[in-house]
């Protein structure tokens, strides 16, 4: 590929520049589809979305219509939701429970394992037609889980999921360990779009540097709502988790519905929060319990899964359909055993910052969309700078730009590896 579309890096001089054409160029977008989205492990869904045998959800993954099912033997399947006969989408409902699915076009019926069960007018076909492997619903070439997080890869070969996740695995555990009964996706999905390149949201999701300026009104809201009694300053570190994944882990002024009480929630809930803290400490030890309770984490799992464990936990994917447009899906993740009181405050907390109606995400969107407009001048104003903290000694600060560099190093490696 054109060398001018690659990041310009000089580790010793602390230079890291990203060409803005990488956010607007159609050939780059097509290359990303092949080199990244056709190869990487991609998030499909969470086990809690299929609580019972027979349950299913449908969603798009890298543009493909997918059917995620749990059969009667509790086996999970990542099926390509496309009829092998003439290609219509088979299951057209968002979610539900069913042992079988009938294609509306010619009436073929498939089990939730993908197996073809009924072909209307079968006399027109050979006797063993139904057993033809090519007539079953296709499975994602690779499908695996890490804890309750399910991923697919559309590449037949490659490293296994745990290897791929590298250091991100332990951070997924830090989320899962918040419950002794299992974490659950809370009903209700935020489904929106941003008129910007998908990589802008990857960067923004783990950007600690922009909080003070982009989110000044949110930070002022926290002060108004909680008073000066809760004035923890933003402070922490950024970590390279390998394979393009990165995290920032830091202290912040917001309440966390996992053992970090704030005045906004009222005195009556304090004892419940203390009991959760005690349970965490008993199960996990003081150090890890304190880390889970008191610190926030924003993590990008390359290429497009964000798990932000902040004033609530959001699981977020974002899929490009063009260089300047992405579809975003965001869920709330919570301990299954959480009380009604705490669940309410968790969701109240989630919506104070996160999502299209929050006090912060709309301003992230504004930044992303204004960057995309700015990149129209990519020929004259050529580069982004993500060098902050490159020459800092003693670890990367939460508001440095290490996380973006991890992402871009991996992006560049995969784009180059893919060849012309």
């Amino acid at each position: 590929m054109d060398q001018s579309l690659r990041p310009v890096v000089d580790e010793t001089r602390g230079i890291y520049r990203v060409p803005r054409r990488a956010f607007v160029d159609q050939t780059v977008f097509e290359r990303e589809c092949r080199a990244i989205f056709d190869k990487c492990w991609l998030y499909l869904g969470h086990a809690s979305e299929l609580p019972n045998p027979g349950d299913y959800v449908t969603r798009k993954v890298a543009g493909r219509p997918m059917l995620f099912t749990r059969d009667k033997d509790d086996q999970y399947h990542a099926l390509i939701n496309v009829c092998p006969h003439r290609g219509a989408v088979v299951c057209r409902e968002r979610k539900g429970s069913s042992p079988a699915f009938q294609c509306m076009y010619h009436g073929w019926v498939f089990a939730n394992t993908g197996r073809l069960m009924v072909v209307p007018g079968h006399a027109g076909y050979p006797a063993d037609y139904k057993d033809d492997p090519g007539k079953q619903l296709s499975h994602a070439p690779r499908f695996d889980r890490f804890g309750d997080f399910f991923f697919v890869s559309f590449a037949a070969d490659g490293e296994d999921l745990a290897t791929y996740l590298a250091g991100a695995g332990d951070y997924l555990k830090l989320v899962s360990e918040q419950s002794s009964k299992g974490m659950t996706i809370v009903g209700g999905t935020q489904e929106y779009s941003i008129r910007g390149n998908w990589k802008l949201l990857a960067e923004n999701s783990v950007d600690g540097y922009h909080a003070a300026s982009t989110h000044s009104t949110y930070l002022e809201y926290l002060k108004n709502a909680n008073g000066s009694t809760h004035d923890t300053r933003l402070a922490g570190f950024g970590h390279d988790l390998g394979n393009g994944h990165a995290v920032i882990e830091y202290f912040a002024p917001w309440g966390r519905p996992i053992a970090n009480w704030i005045p906004l929630w009222g005195e009556e809930g304090k004892s419940e929060i203390e009991a959760i803290q005690q349970d965490l400490t008993t199960r996990l030890g003081q150090e890890r319990a304190d880390r889970i309770a008191k610190q926030s984490r924003n993590m990008i799992i390359f290429p497009n899964l964000v798990i932000n464990d902040v004033m609530a936990i959001t699981v977020r994917t974002f899929w490009p359909t063009a260089p300047d447009y992405m579809e975003v899906n965001a869920w709330a993740l919570a301990p299954a055993e959480e009380s009604e009181w705490l669940r309410k405050f968790r969701l109240f907390n989630f919506t104070e910052f996160l999502g299209p109606g929050g006090f912060a995400t709309p301003d992230d969107v504004e930044a992303i969309e204004k960057c995309q407009v700015g990149y129209q001048a990519a020929r004259e104003a050529q580069y982004n700078d993500i060098s902050r903290g490159m020459l800092r000694e003693g670890g990367s600060a939460y508001d440095d730009e290490l996380q973006m560099r991890c992402f871009w190093n991996e992006w560049d490696r995969r784009i180059q590896e893919h060849g012309a």
Partner: protein, 168 residues
């Protein structure tokens, strides 16, 4: 229905409709403090997501787009009055169309529903929010006040929109 009951229903309809039109006008003129003053002391402003049944979903059990209590309604207005609310600075142009208003009085409260289409235009893009309102209104000192305003989006998803940074 007796003639007297019909006249009562007409007066209620007129009163609620005038109130909703007044609210829409305040929003389109960005008179946010006046808008906030339409709410009762205990009030909520809700926008459910599009993949649940918005008429029945509970914001303490499902993730919503907007789950504001009275304090946060105030804070939302405070925020929107600042230049730091970047998404709405400079402010977008909006137009709220409110129709199909229906109202019934039950004791001290009035339940009202209406259809809405809200256009938001800014920076070369125009997004349309389509849905229906569900209001719980109360009378305080002779004036109608909002105890709950729920905006149920009759949309497949919030796309191509990116935000509900305006007030619906």
């Amino acid at each position: 229905m007796t003639r007297e009951a019909e006249i009562d229903a007409m007066l209620l309809q007129h009163r609620v409709q005038s109130f909703l039109f007044h609210e829409a006008d305040l929003l389109d003129r960005w008179q946010l403090n006046e808008w906030e003053a339409l709410f009762a002391d205990e009030a909520s402003y809700l926008v459910p997501p599009t993949d649940v049944d918005g008429d029945f979903a509970d914001p303490s059990k499902s993730l919503f787009y907007i789950f504001d209590d009275r304090t946060r309604i105030h804070e939302r207005v405070v925020r929107l009055e600042k230049k730091g609310a970047h998404s709405e600075f400079p402010r977008s142009k909006t137009r709220h169309l409110v129709s199909n208003v229906r109202a019934t009085a039950q004791g001290d409260t009035i339940e009202a529903t209406a259809s809405f289409a809200v256009w938001r235009s800014k920076d070369g893009n125009t997004d349309i929010f389509v849905g229906h309102y569900s209001y719980r209104l109360v009378e305080i000192d002779g004036a109608l006040r909002i105890a709950e305003k729920k905006c149920v989006l009759d949309m497949d998803a919030l796309r191509p929109h990116a935000r509900i940074s305006i007030l619906l």
